[in-house]
C-alpha cells in the first residue's frame, strides 16, 4: 500500500504541474487551450535536443524549453487569440482556433522531430528502496521540483504585481480594465506563462517518460480531466485535480487490475456522477 500511495503522490505532482498552465490560460481568457499538450511535447523535444543531443546542462535545456514556449505563447496570444476574441462574438471561435493550433503543432513537431519515442539520460541515477517503497531518485527529484514549481507559481500569483493583475482579470475582466489593468498586456503575459509551464513540465518529464510526437492530444485530455475535477480556472482546483487523478489512477490500477482496464472507465464514470452533482468542479469559481 505504501508503494501505491507513493506512486499516486508522484503522479499527482506531475499531473498538477501539467494542469496549471491550462487552467491559468482558461482563467484569464476563457480559452480552452487544446494545444496545451502539444506545447508540453515541444518543451520535451527542446530539452531532448539541447540536453540529450547537444549535451548542454539539463538546467539550460529546461530554461530554453520554458523561454521558447513563453515566446510562442505570447505570439499566439498577440497575433491569434487576441484577434479572434476581438472580432468574434462566439466563444467557440477560440476553441476552434485552439484546436487548429493543436493540429498545426502536431504536424510541425512530427516534421521536425520525427515519429520515434525519444529519451534522455537520467538526471540522477539510483533507486530508493526502503520501508516498502521503491522510488527511483530521479522521480523523487522531479516530484520535488514539481511541488517547488507549483509553490513558486502560487506565491507569484498571490504576491507579485503581475499576479495580482492577472487575478483581477480572472475575477472580472471589465472591472479590472476600469481600474487601469492593461488587459492586453496581462493576457499576453498570462498566456506566455501558461505556455511556459507546459514547456517546463515537458522538459522536466522527458527525463522520466521521454517524449514522442503523438502524445500531445492525450496529455491535453488528461489536463482537461484534472481541470474539470478541480474547477476550471481555479489554480487550487487544478492542483487538487492533479493529485486526485494521480491517486485514483494508482489505486485503481492496483485494486482493479484483475478486471482488465477498468480503471479509467471507473474514473470517467465517477467524473460523470461528480460533475452532475458539482458541475463547476471542486472549487467551482475563478480564484481571487
Amino acid at each position: 500500500m505504501e508503494q501505491v500511495i507513493a506512486n499516486g503522490l508522484y503522479l499527482g505532482a506531475q499531473y498538477a504541474l501539467i494542469a496549471l498552465g491550462l487552467t491559468l490560460i482558461f482563467a484569464l481568457m476563457n480559452v480552452l487551450n487544446f494545444a496545451h499538450g502539444q506545447m508540453y511535447v515541444l518543451g520535451g523535444f527542446i530539452t531532448y535536443t539541447l540536453y540529450g543531443q547537444l549535451g548542454l546542462p539539463f538546467v539550460v535545456a529546461l530554461l530554453a524549453s520554458g523561454v521558447t514556449l513563453a515566446i510562442i505563447g505570447a505570439l499566439m496570444e498577440k497575433f491569434l487569440f487576441r484577434t479572434v476574441i476581438r472580432r468574434s462574438h462566439r466563444e467557440e471561435s477560440t476553441m476552434l482556433l485552439a484546436a487548429a493550433t493543436a493540429f498545426f503543432f502536431d504536424a510541425v513537431i512530427l516534421l521536425l522531430f520525427g515519429e520515434k519515442q525519444r529519451g534522455v539520460p537520467k538526471i540522477v541515477k539510483g533507486v530508493f528502496n526502503d520501508a516498502g517503497i521503491i522510488m527511483p531518485y530521479d522521480r523523487m527529484v522531479v516530484g520535488v521540483l514539481a511541488i517547488a514549481f507549483i509553490a513558486a507559481f502560487v506565491l507569484y500569483m498571490q504576491y507579485s504585481r503581475v499576479g495580482r493583475a492577472m487575478r483581477a482579470l480572472a475575477q472580472d475582466r471589465v472591472a479590472a480594465q476600469l481600474m487601469g489593468v492593461r488587459v492586453d498586456r496581462y493576457s499576453m503575459i498570462g498566456f506566455a506563462m501558461g505556455a511556459m509551464l507546459a514547456g517546463v513540465v515537458g522538459g522536466l518529464l522527458v527525463t522520466i517518460t521521454g517524449v514522442n510526437s503523438g502524445i500531445g492530444g492525450p496529455i491535453s485530455i488528461k489536463a482537461f480531466l484534472m481541470v474539470m475535477i478541480g474547477g476550471a480556472g481555479v489554480v487550487g482546483g487544478a492542483i487538487a485535480g492533479g493529485f486526485i487523478l494521480g491517486m485514483m489512477e494508482s489505486v485503481g490500477l492496483t485494486v482493479l487490475r484483475e478486471y482488465g482496464d477498468v480503471t479509467y472507465l471507473v474514473i470517467f464514470a465517477a467524473l460523470m456522477v461528480f460533475l452532475s452533482v458539482r458541475p463547476n468542479g471542486l472549487m467551482g469559481k475563478p480564484w481571487g
Binding site: Y10, E115, K116, K122, I134, I208, P218, T254, G260
Partner: protein
C-alpha cells in the same frame, strides 16, 4: 531605365522560366517510363506513428532507388514507382476512406493498414475494388478463406510467440510468465494468443488481465502489482515502440530481475534512449534482415533510407519486403498489373531470390499451415536480444 522594380521583375521572370524549363526537363525524362502506383494506407501520425512511418518510408526509399536506377521492368514496359500514401490515423473509418481513395486512383496493390481493426475494416472495399493489400495485422480471418485479398506482411505473434516461449523455457528455465497489454484490439488479441501458447507449453501464468491505456506515460502503477508476483518472463504483448522502453525501465526500477519479451518489432535507438542499460536482455521479434544476415543490397537500402530521412528505423528491416514482393510478383506475371486474380494465381507458385539476405534465400508466399492458403510474405523470423544499443540474433526461425 533600370530601376529596382524592373530588376526584381526580371529576376522573378528568370526564376519562373528556369523552374519551368527544369520541370519540362524532368517530366520528359520521366515520361519515357510508365507509372505504377502502389498504395499505402496506415498510421503515420499520433502515438503509433512509428509503425506506419517506417512502412511508408521503406516504400519511398525503395521506390526512389528503383526510379533512380531506371525503373522496374514488368513485361514489355518499364515503370517508375509512385507511392500513393494515406494516413489513417489508426482510425478504421479513415482506413476505409484511404482504401476508397486508392480505388479511385486505380491502385491495385496497397501496403497496410498497420492495425487489426483498420485491416478488418478495409476488407470489403478492397475486395469490391480488386485491391490486394498487405496488412501488418494478425486476425486469421483476414487471411483464411473466403477472404483472399489480404496478405500478412510479417510474422504473426501466434507464430513467433510459441517459438520464443519454448526457447526461453528450454534455455533460460522460464516457468512463471506474466502478460501485460495495452487496452486496444491488437495488443489484447496478441496477449490472448500468447496466453494460449504459454498454456500449451505448460507455463504457469501468474498475470494475464493487466492492461494499460496506450497513452500511458508512467507505467510504475501498472507494473507494481505484476512485479510483486515475480514472474520469470514478462511479456509486453503487442507493445508499441514508444511504450516498450518506458515499460522496461519501470519494471527494472521496481526491482524486476526476470526476462522481458515482446512479439512486435522494436527499434534499438529508441530502447537505448528510453531505457538505457535496463533494456539489455530484452527479447523481441526483430527485423527480418538484421546486420548479421543482411546482404549488400540491404545495407545499401539502410544507407539510402538514412540519407533520405535522417535516421534509420530497425522496424524497416521487415517492412522493406512488401513492395519487393509486389514488384517481383508482377514481374513474374505482368498480366497481374491490373488484374489481382492473376496476382493470386501467381502467389501459389511464386519464387524469386531474396535481395535483402545473404546466401540463396528466396522470396515466396507462405501461410498454408496458419491460414489454409498462401496469404503471408515469407520473411525470416529473427528473434533478437537487445544488448548495449544493438540487437543480437538469438535464433532465426521460419514460417510455413
Amino acid at each position: 531605365m533600370i530601376n529596382r522594380r524592373s530588376t526584381l521583375k526580371s529576376m522573378a521572370l528568370g526564376a519562373v522560366s528556369t523552374l519551368a524549363i527544369a520541370a519540362v526537363g524532368i517530366s520528359s525524362a520521366q515520361a519515357e517510363n510508365k507509372e505504377l502506383k502502389i498504395g499505402f494506407v496506415g498510421v503515420t501520425s499520433g502515438p503509433a506513428a512509428a509503425w506506419g512511418t517506417s512502412n511508408v518510408r521503406s516504400m519511398q526509399t525503395r521506390a526512389a532507388w528503383i526510379n533512380e536506377t531506371g525503373g522496374v521492368k514488368i513485361g514489355n514496359d518499364t515503370y517508375n514507382i509512385n507511392i500513393v500514401t494515406f494516413d489513417d490515423q489508426k482510425d478504421p473509418k479513415r482506413a476505409i476512406a484511404g482504401m476508397e481513395k486508392m480505388a479511385q486512383e486505380g491502385v491495385h496493390y496497397v501496403v497496410g493498414p498497420n492495425v487489426d481493426d483498420g485491416a478488418a475494416a478495409v476488407r470489403p472495399v478492397a475486395e469490391a475494388n480488386g485491391i490486394i493489400y498487405f496488412p501488418y495485422a494478425f486476425p486469421k480471418a483476414l487471411y483464411q478463406k473466403p477472404a483472399s485479398n489480404a496478405v500478412l506482411g510479417m510474422i504473426a505473434n501466434y507464430q513467433s510467440g510459441p517459438a520464443i516461449y519454448k526457447y526461453l523455457k528450454e534455455n533460460k528455465g522460464v516457468k512463471k510468465i506474466a502478460f501485460v497489454a495495452a487496452n486496444e484490439s491488437d495488443p489484447l488479441s496478441q496477449r490472448d494468443g500468447g496466453v494460449e501458447a504459454a498454456k500449451a507449453l505448460g507455463l504457469d501464468i501468474v498475470a494475464q488481465n493487466d492492461t494499460y491505456q496506450n497513452d500511458t506515460r508512467d507505467f510504475t502503477p501498472v507494473l507494481t502489482p505484476i512485479v510483486a508476483l515475480k514472474p520469470d518472463l514478462l511479456v509486453l504483448s503487442g507493445v508499441a515502440p514508444a511504450n516498450a522502453p518506458l515499460l522496461i525501465r519501470a519494471a527494472r526500477e521496481l526491482g524486476y530481475e526476470g526476462l522481458i519479451s515482446t512479439e512486435t518489432a522494436q527499434d534499438a535507438k529508441v530502447l537505448e534512449e528510453g531505457a538505457g542499460e535496463y533494456a539489455n536482455g530484452f527479447i523481441s521479434v526483430g527485423g527480418a534482415s538484421t546486420p548479421e544476415i543482411a546482404s549488400d543490397a540491404m545495407k545499401e537500402f539502410v544507407t539510402r533510407y538514412t540519407k533520405m530521412f535522417g535516421e534509420y528505423n530497425d522496424e524497416s528491416n521487415t517492412k522493406v519486403y512488401a513492395l519487393e514482393y509486389i514488384l517481383d510478383t508482377l514481374k513474374a506475371n505482368p498480366a497481374a498489373i491490373n488484374d489481382v486474380a492473376e496476382f493470386k494465381k501467381t502467389m501459389d507458385t511464386f519464387s524469386a531470390p531474396n535481395p535483402f539476405l545473404k546466401g540463396d534465400a528466396k522470396l515466396s508466399y507462405v501461410g498454408s499451415t496458419s491460414f489454409g492458403q498462401k496469404r503471408q510474405l515469407s520473411v525470416p523470423m529473427v528473434v533478437n536480444e537487445y544488448k548495449d544499443g544493438a540487437f543480437q540474433t538469438l535464433f532465426v526461425g521460419s514460417v510455413d
